[in-house]
């Protein structure tokens, strides 16, 4: 049943649609990537790229959406066909989630400590209350909660934003998950607190050896934390590969555009180069390559033929892009590769 030759998580040609008043929204349209044991994979994209829907689909948390195609296999089992009960058993134990806003995920009327104890005992019925309590305090201390024993009794509203995020991370790693899904875990936080939480995610990952799927719009966070990166645009994966390769030698015009539109903390940039236009409507996605209306390289083939992900370059790691003219892009001098 458990297939150990396959990567830990395989997202295979996933497509998710939403019915709205205006029509069918193709939020995810053929996303494909894998996550290996113990690695940190960053999924980047702007709003509407489908990155969050993809992440939520893994745990079957997208109720209003309909999976029209594809599979999500975790340890070889298709999560989409699992009975609800089995999915619940996986959720919170083998796969844990860290949300952007801890207040939506923490119960406001139950103390932090009790929530962690419950999470522990929910998946391990044999665990005694006292043992669970000790373990919870241990977890709170691990995530850098000062005075963990006292904090154990406090309620979420008594915590600052950073502390809540710590508590949620403690809860997420409580059952030693093999996959952590972190959806914009630091977006709501101030920079100095974000730095603390990023350090913590690193520690949590080392501690549990869990693979981490890091969903974010912040390229800086990915560059700091991820081993590999998956770039999404208009519901599709447009580029993926080793983080250094993708950031220094991107082979998709969208990735190039993103990096060039970014003001830099570490150097002076004379002028930003924004990507013209705005992301396409997912109600009526453009034919062919979804990026072609904004792409400087676009030509007829891009307007008709949808580019599939293909391997580019000859590096030591696998680098994939969904661009017909990736080789041409490689030849162009860009500021990114400076």
């Amino acid at each position: 049943m458990v297939n150990e030759t396959e990567p830990l998580l395989v997202v295979d040609d996933l497509a998710v649609e939403f019915r709205t008043d205006e029509g069918v929204v193709k939020a995810v349209d053929g996303a494909a990537f894998t996550v290996d044991r113990g690695e940190i994979v960053g999924v980047v994209g702007e709003s509407g790229s489908g990155k969050s829907v993809t992440a939520m689909s893994i745990l079957g948390l997208v109720k209003s959406g309909r999976r029209v195609r594809g599979a999500i296999r975790f340890r070889g089992r298709d999560l989409g066909t699992l009975p609800a009960k089995e999915l619940r058993a996986i959720r919170g134990a083998e796969i844990a989630m860290i949300f952007q806003d801890p207040m939506t995920a923490l119960n406001p009327v139950v103390s932090i400590g009790r929530q962690i104890v419950e999470a522990l005992r929910l998946h391990d019925r044999k665990l005694s209350k006292a043992a669970a309590r000790d373990r919870a305090i241990e977890l709170l201390a691990l995530v850098g909660m000062p005075d963990a024993a006292a904090r154990f009794k406090q309620y979420p509203h008594e915590f600052s934003g950073g502390m809540r995020q710590r508590a949620m991370i403690a809860m997420a790693i409580a059952n030693g998950p093999s996959l952590l899904i972190a959806d914009e875990p630091t977006t709501a936080l101030d920079v100095t607190i974000q730095a603390q939480v990023l350090d913590l995610l690193r520690i949590a990952q080392q501690e549990t050896q869990a693979a981490t799927l890091l969903i974010t719009h912040d390229l800086g966070v990915v560059a700091e934390l991820a081993d590999r990166v998956v770039v999404m645009y208009a519901g599709r994966v447009v580029e993926q590969g080793d983080v250094t390769t993708v950031f220094t030698a991107p082979r998709h015009p969208y990735t190039v555009g993103l990096l060039e539109s970014l003001p830099r903390l570490d150097r002076d940039v004379d002028e930003l180069h924004p990507i013209p236009g705005s992301p396409p409507s997912l109600l009526t996605p453009p034919p062919g390559c979804p990026f072609h209306p904004r792409c400087p390289l676009a030509r007829d083939r891009c307007r008709t033929e949808r580019p599939e992900l293909r391997v580019v370059g000859n590096g030591t790691t696998v680098h994939r892009t969904a661009c017909h003219f990736a080789e041409e892009l490689a030849a162009l001098p860009t500021e990114v590769t400076r």
């Binding site: 702007e46 709003s47 000062p146 600052s160 950073g162 502390m163 101030d190 920079v191 100095t192 607190i193 974000q194 730095a195 603390q196 990023l198 350090d199 719009h217 912040d218 390229l219 800086g220 966070v221 990915v222 560059a223 700091e224 983080v243 250094t244 950031f247 220094t248 555009g257 993103l258 990096l259 539109s261 970014l262 003001p263 830099r264 903390l265 570490d266 150097r267 002076d268 940039v269 002028e271 930003l272 180069h273 924004p274 990507i275 013209p276 705005s278 992301p279 400076r338």
Partner: protein, 349 residues
Amino acid sequence: MTVETAAVDRLERLGEEVLRVDDLAMHFPIRGGVFRRAVGAVRAVDGVSFAIDQGETLSLVGESGCGKTTTGRMVVRLLEPTSGRILYRGHDLATMSEDELRPWRSKTQIVFQDPYASLSPRMTVHDIIAEPLRVQGKYRQGGADRVSELLDLVGLQPEHANRYAHEFSGGQRQRIGIARALALDPELLVLDEPVSALDVSIQAQVVNKLRELQQRLGLAYLFISHDLSIVRHVSHRIAVMYLGVIVETGTRDEIFTAPHHPYTQALLSAVPVPDPRLRGARERITLTGDVPNPANPPSGCRFRTRCWKAQAKCAEEVPQLEDRLGTGHPSACHFPELLTVLPTSGAAS
């Protein structure tokens, strides 16, 4: 008078001081008890001074709760300061009544962070941009033409005028907000996190547009942001705020290449940089703990509770904003020292 002709005058006065803020403070009362009497105060802003010249961008940076947004709202008098002066070309706006203020209102305008909450869902784009003109009784003389001109100025099409805000993307909405702020020919724009709510690829469009407008129209900007990368890109001068006070201020280069307040240094080192090659190569200062409660700030230096070099003096004596190191820019630290936190230009390659 078109937008451009009005700008000629301003362009001639580049470098002249437009706004001077002097020891500005905003204390929000905390009410308690049966009679809702003030039992304390949140000192959101506690004695802030700065000046902005025509054509210049001064950025206020800091984390949430540092008072940067409150300062911006006082400058446009959405809030009445508890004390201090807001001198617009020598006229103190801080103490004016709403009626006295009305003619001066057009000189300082504001662009908000949230492109969704800042535009009325019940008005067309034309009516949104025309509102300031109508309020000031200036719509009758060529107001409609002016709205078209403003749309063009911010890069929108004339046919967008009859649509409603919900039909636009975040970036377009922010352009509408900018057009509205420009309607009355202001000299100073308070830009309160104007691109924080936008996607990366759209942020750059709006930032470029703001820079272009500044050059064409000679505008002064008070740019409020928590995003240091954008601040580096847009600012001439920067003031770093922490818990209601300015802890360090200087030109862009001074702040980014020679910061000497520990908080500035920590802030700069905490920002993730989109370059995996720098991972582990940068000096990282990770601050412990959270920002203290502004209702009860620490004695002496407000940063001392999170500072790694705090000493007894820091708890006893409030550090004044002065240039102790002779680097040409002041900081409010008893023990400042130069520290290069960011790789110097070119080191990345």
